[in-house]
Amino acid sequence: MSYAVEINNVHKRFGRIHALRGLSLNIERGMTYGLLGPNGAGKTTLIRSIMGLVKPDEGQVKVLDAVMPSKDIMRRVGYMTQSIALYEDLTVHQNVAFFAAMYELEGDHAQAIREVLELVDLADRADSRVRELSGGMQRRVSLACALVHRPDVVVLDEPTVGVDPQLRVQFWDHFHQLNAQGVTLIVSSHVMDEAERCDRLGFVRHGTLLAEGSASELLERAGTPTLEEAFLKYAEQGPAQ
């Protein structure tokens, strides 16, 4: 089976900043892939190029076998941005319905919206304005907007930043449910203890991939007790490729 995401030697510069420096990475379908690295490592640029929001200067990004940016593929990808990115004046339902329309969701919108609101446990708050919700609820609405069109690939940029532990557990439950349905998840984080929940991890630093593998593989190879220390050890050794 082909990869969900194939990133091949991608470079991206913004003026003098060299955000991605020949980064290559493959992500298999149906897994949760964690992109780990400090702030400014190039994670967000990498995610934006997967989303087709950034065109690489060099190299190629393929999602579901199509070269990005591709409007057809965007329909099959969900995106939860780092900020909540909702229309605060509108209700939960209006927000989710808007993004469902933007993705030209096939079939019964009402049914899909109901399902996704149940998934994030907000069915009873559908008519509340987003402004009136707690931060955690807003996060869940944001997730619902990324999932309403039943995407094959979901990209989540720091989905659990500022999320309380209980909600974090709920989110990871959702993510694993989605994996079970064959959905590929790409999760970025700078929190190492999130990482162990991912099937596979990529350490990103200075716009390159330092190391890749499952959490236990990475620990074993580095010979360190924690992923944090492993990250630092890989960082000393330099890029993997």
Binding site: L53, K71, Y79, T81, D89, F98
Partner: protein, 383 residues
């Protein structure tokens, strides 16, 4: 372009505005308040009418039946004008002096009583008065007309040689230094204000709405959907056009029925112009929001985009009266074309064909601004 996305986007823009009650009230109320204030100021009663009398009347002898005495109706008229009301100051001047004073704005009106004024009045059994109005304040002419009639009637009423029992006919032959009869400042200003309000509100609302999309990250999220840049622009234009037209309708109804502004034209043409203005304003708003990081910065674009256009668009001062170097700049302002079109429609009753040149210019501006704003979004998207 898919209207399956455009219309939901337009609907969302409308939902957002409906949710923002304060903005909603402001859109529809502020124009009425400002128009009222402007209307009051513009129509302020002049507290004193300064009248120059050019007294050249040589008098005449009354016919034998009337007593045969010499009489000077010009003097009588001047006297009765002087005693009529304290709101009238009367100065007797020679013709040249009076003319130079009215041009300096030191007189509101000149009444000229020619050498044969008495003789003509007796012969015709009617009074004909030559009045020149300064004309910049139409209220003066209205007030003065009444006063003059009363003074003339008073001056000659007792003369049976002139008034044979009935009230003599008084004809005022008015000329205007500026403007014309039937003319009201608000008639001149209202069309421009109607255009201005739509332009200003749509510009401010779009730039803030679009800035919010950028800052909140919803634009980023929107661009990760299959929607195209042009669909975002067209969606915004559809959403705001609805508000612009409702606003234009409310302002028009209030201006015509509340403020009694003369209105001769077709509502359709006014709406076409308003629509084009709204579309331009949406795109300028999108464009300028790129250069702002927060709402305060957006506000700073208002003097730039709105105020300069108010001054230069012929809203307050006719473009023809501007210094030569300024006129080409005035014709670079989209609002200038809108003002002239709206004025021609509302005052002169022109149809779409007759204002076609202005409308085409507005279409051109709108198209150029669509390209400009679509380009701005794209540049942002790629990065």
């Amino acid at each position: 372009m898919s209207f399956r996305r455009v219309f939901p986007l337009a609907r969302r823009v409308i939902q957002q505005l409906l949710a923002d009650r304060r903005t909603l009230v402001l859109i529809f109320l502020v124009p009425l308040v400002v128009l009222t204030v402007a209307g009051v100021l513009v129509r302020l009663e002049p507290d004193e009418i300064r009248l120059g009398v050019v007294m050249e009347d040589e008098g005449a002898a009354l016919p034998v039946g009337g007593g045969g005495d010499a009489v000077n109706l010009g003097e009588r008229l001047t006297d009765s004008l002087g005693t009529l009301t304290e709101n009238l100051s009367v100065q007797q001047l020679d013709a040249a002096e009076a003319q130079s004073r009215i041009e300096d704005g030191k007189l509101d009106a000149i009444i000229t009583l020619p050498a044969d004024f008495t003789a003509q009045t007796i012969q015709n059994r009617a009074v004909t008065l030559d009045v020149e109005y300064e004309g910049s304040n139409p209220k003066v002419a209205q007030m003065f007309d009444t006063l003059l009639n009363r003074a003339a009637v008073q001056a000659i009423a007792s003369l049976s040689a002139v008034s044979t029992g009935s009230t003599p006919d008084v004809t005022v032959q008015a000329t205007y230094l500026y403007g014309s009869a039937e003319f009201d400042q608000l008639d001149y200003l209202a069309p421009a204000f109607i255009g201005l309000f739509v332009f200003m509100f749509v510009f401010i609302l779009t730039s803030v709405a679009f800035l919010r999309e950028r800052v909140a990250g919803t634009l980023e999220r929107l661009q990760a959907t299959p929607i195209r840049q042009i669909e975002i622009i067209v969606g915004y234009m559809c959403g705001f056009a609805v508000f612009a037209l409702v606003q234009a309708l409310i302002i028009l109804i209030y201006t015509i029925y509340g403020l009694n502004v003369h209105y001769m034209g077709s509502l359709l043409v006014v709406f076409v112009v308003e629509l084009l203005l709204a579309l331009m304003a949406v795109n300028l708003g999108v464009f300028f929001s790129t250069f702002a990081r927060n709402e305060f910065q957006v506000v700073q674009f208002i003097p730039l985009v709105v105020v300069t256009q108010v001054f230069l668009s012929g809203a307050l001062w006719a473009v023809e009266d501007m210094p030569g170097w300024l006129q080409p700049i005035a014709w670079l302002m989209p609002l200038t074309y809108a003002n002239y079109a709206l004025r021609d429609v509302m005052i002169k009753g022109f149809d779409l064909i007759q204002v076609g040149g202005y409308v085409l210019a507005l279409v051109g501006f709108a198209a150029a601004f669509v390209l400009l704003s679509a380009q701005t979004i794209r540049r942002q998207a790629v990065g």
